[in-house]
């Protein structure tokens, strides 16, 4: 990443950092963590002074780089807000409950521009921690994206810290948290793995991969594919305009997946009483039922006949809409089934205005291999 590693004294003649009363105690117990040739140590609110050294000849484009690494005690912290319009954010849980570890790397095409990139850490009295990347431009610090300069943040936090994180073009990656995450990016990729609690995303483009979440999931995107895997909350909802949605192993009772131009694919076991609502305007909508289907009700809309590898009994059909049940459960409905049995059937709504609607059956053994 660093084309030209900066060689500089850790501290020089810069002005001391300013800490408010509530954060003064934190300043005094800052723990030193060496990082390459630069570091912040002790409570000395030092600053970096020397400009970045030029790279060796033939080392490629000149990139001024700089960085900081801190371990900050955060007693009583409940929530972390990270706003980085200048680059990416990686947040992962670590095994310390009262401190966070922040690594901030900045790089730019010139030392002058590099010096105008700032990262602020604030510990609020109310239990919120905020980390903000800013650029000094037009006479003040601003939350603005840049194309030729960037700041990347890697933050290790106690698992129980709630998270709100926002980037502009940088990727967002979250792992191991236990109090949910709210993520927003304009053009970065979102990756969430092993998170408990509610996960909410908003994205213009870049794609999203969300896996192993125990909590409600609400994903919103305009462009880019979404991949959902092993989600266990009560409700899963994902919406994208231009992009495919592929979902596997969802254990939620309320699943709503919607793409406008892309395909929607659900792959997994259908849970009793669960409701699956899969829609696309222009793409294919496909359900691949893993294992022997225990029976489900299908409500479909498609301009072409529904393709089903599982025998269906049509209950109702009008225009491009139909209702059906799987053949075995259909027989029960018309003969001996009780209301309770019918109510336990999962409901699968599949709708595509222009594309196909497909129901597949996938043997469990195939899935395990």
């Amino acid at each position: 990443m660093m084309a030209a590693a900066a060689r500089r004294p850790p501290f020089s003649d810069g002005a001391p950092l300013a800490f408010g009363a509530s954060t003064l105690s934190l300043a005094l117990v800052l723990i030193a963590v060496p990082r390459a040739s630069w570091a912040v140590v002790g409570g000395d609110a030092g600053t970096l002074a020397a400009p970045a050294s030029p790279p060796a000849a033939g080392a490629g484009p000149v990139r001024a780089v700089d960085g900081r690494e801190l371990i900050v005690p955060i007693p009583g912290a409940e929530r972390l807000r990270v706003d980085n319009p200048l680059g990416g954010i990686v947040v992962r849980a670590w095994d310390r409950a009262d401190a966070m570890h922040i690594v901030a790397d900045k790089q730019s095409s010139s030392p002058e521009a590099l010096a105008r990139l700032r990262v602020h850490f604030t510990a609020w009295a109310g239990g919120e921690i905020s980390i903000e990347a800013r650029v000094e431009a037009g006479g003040r610090e601003r939350a603005l994206p840049l194309s030729a300069s960037r700041v990347d943040l890697v933050i290790e936090v106690p698992a129980e810290l709630g998270l709100e994180a926002k980037t502009f073009a940088g990727d967002l990656s979250v792992t191991g948290l236990r109090a949910g995450a709210r993520l927003e990016t304009t053009g970065g990729r979102i990756v969430v793995n092993d998170v408990h609690g509610r996960v909410i995303t908003h994205q213009l483009r870049g794609g999203q991969s969300v896996a192993a979440v125990e909590g409600d999931v609400d994903l919103d995107g305009v462009e880019g594919h979404m991949h959902l895997d092993r989600l266990g909350g009560t409700r899963v909802e994902a919406r994208v305009v231009d992009g495919d949605i592929r979902a596997e192993d969802l254990r939620s009772d309320d699943v709503r997946l919607s793409a406008t131009t892309g395909a929607v694919v659900l792959f997994g076991v259908l849970r009793p009483r669960a409701h699956y609502d899969l829609r696309s305007y222009g793409g294919e909508v496909r359900v691949a039922v893993v294992g022997a289907p225990s029976g489900f009700e299908l409500r479909a809309r498609s301009s072409v006949p529904v393709v089903s590898a599982i025998p269906l009994v049509t209950l109702w059909q009008k225009g491009d809409r139909m209702r059906a049940v799987t053949a075995s459960s259909g027989a029960r409905v018309t003969s001996t089934a009780t209301t309770a049995t019918a109510a336990a059937r999962p409901v699968v709504e599949l709708s595509s205005v222009l594309g196909r609607v497909v129901v597949e059956s996938v043997p469990l053994v195939d899935r395990l291999q």
């Binding site: 400009p51 000094e136 431009a137 305009v222």
Partner: protein
């Protein structure tokens, strides 16, 4: 330097929104109410959220997206930045020192880059319709960034993002145009009316952004307006022809 406390710390837009929706506990509501009563900035925020909520409710479904918080949050961030607070920060050991060669290079880039940005955005926004005038104003306003190369660079990034939003909205609008040819005139009129309001919101946000080019907060407002339009268009497209509102049941 004073420390931030729960009384001086602004309430987040998300929290205000939850409060207005009655989604927080009475204890939390009391704290929010007390802060809003004492803080003009947050009172303005509440009024703004209330106003936006009412006007959006007039549009009927779909409801405004949860992304509204980010817009308001940006305003609050700016407020926060003005407040004294403790922070750890990178120093400004070379702030403001731009060499003559760099300035000259940027001046050249400004002329070439500015023209390219204008042309690119114009094409995509034209597809959305109704806001070409605002685009022209936006382009003219780009000169307001002055000669700071980083501001110009940032403005270009924001403009690219706005163009992407406009392009996505344009594609949805094209789909809608095809679909609504099958609709009855009354339904078409209802959708057109709502879209006109959303276009107005974009034009308004553009105007705000033009007043301070390179300002992240106003850009967030513009993006939020685009997201509302995209959400509405996607919802309408998915609902499809008359009758689909009853769902598949």
């Amino acid at each position: 330097m004073t420390s931030p406390t729960s009384s001086t710390r602004h309430v987040t837009a998300e929290r205000v929104s939850e409060w207005l929706d009655g989604d927080i506990s009475e204890r939390e509501a009391t704290a929010v109410r007390a802060h809003v009563a004492a803080c003009p900035a947050c009172a303005d925020l509440v009024n703004e959220l209330r106003g936006q909520g009412e006007s959006l409710r007039e549009l009927g479904r779909p409801e405004p997206p949860a992304t509204l918080w980010s817009t308001i949050e940006g305003v609050m961030d700016a407020e926060d930045a003005r407040a004294e607070r403790g922070r750890w920060s990178w120093p400004s050991w070379l702030a403001g020192a731009l060499g003559g060669a760099v300035t000259a290079a940027v001046a050249v880039w400004l002329v070439v880059g500015g023209r390219a940005t204008t042309a690119g955005a114009s094409g995509s926004l034209a597809a959305v319709g109704g806001i070409d005038g605002a685009l022209a104003a936006r382009s003219a306003g780009a000169s307001g960034t002055g000669s700071d190369p980083l501001l110009i660079e940032a403005e270009r990034e924001l403009e690219r993002a706005a163009a992407s939003y406009a392009k996505a909205a344009g594609r949805l609008r094209a789909i809608l145009d095809r679909e609504q040819a099958l609709w009855d005139p009354a339904r078409r009129a209802r959708v057109a009316e709502r879209l006109a309001r959303l276009d107005d919101a974009i034009v308004h946000s553009r105007a705000v952004a033009d007043r301070d080019p390179g300002d992240g907060t106003s850009a967030e407002m513009l993006f939020s307006a685009y997201r509302r339009q995209i959400d509405f268009l996607a919802e309408v497209v998915h609902r499809g022809s008359p009758g689909i509102e009853e769902g598949l049941r």
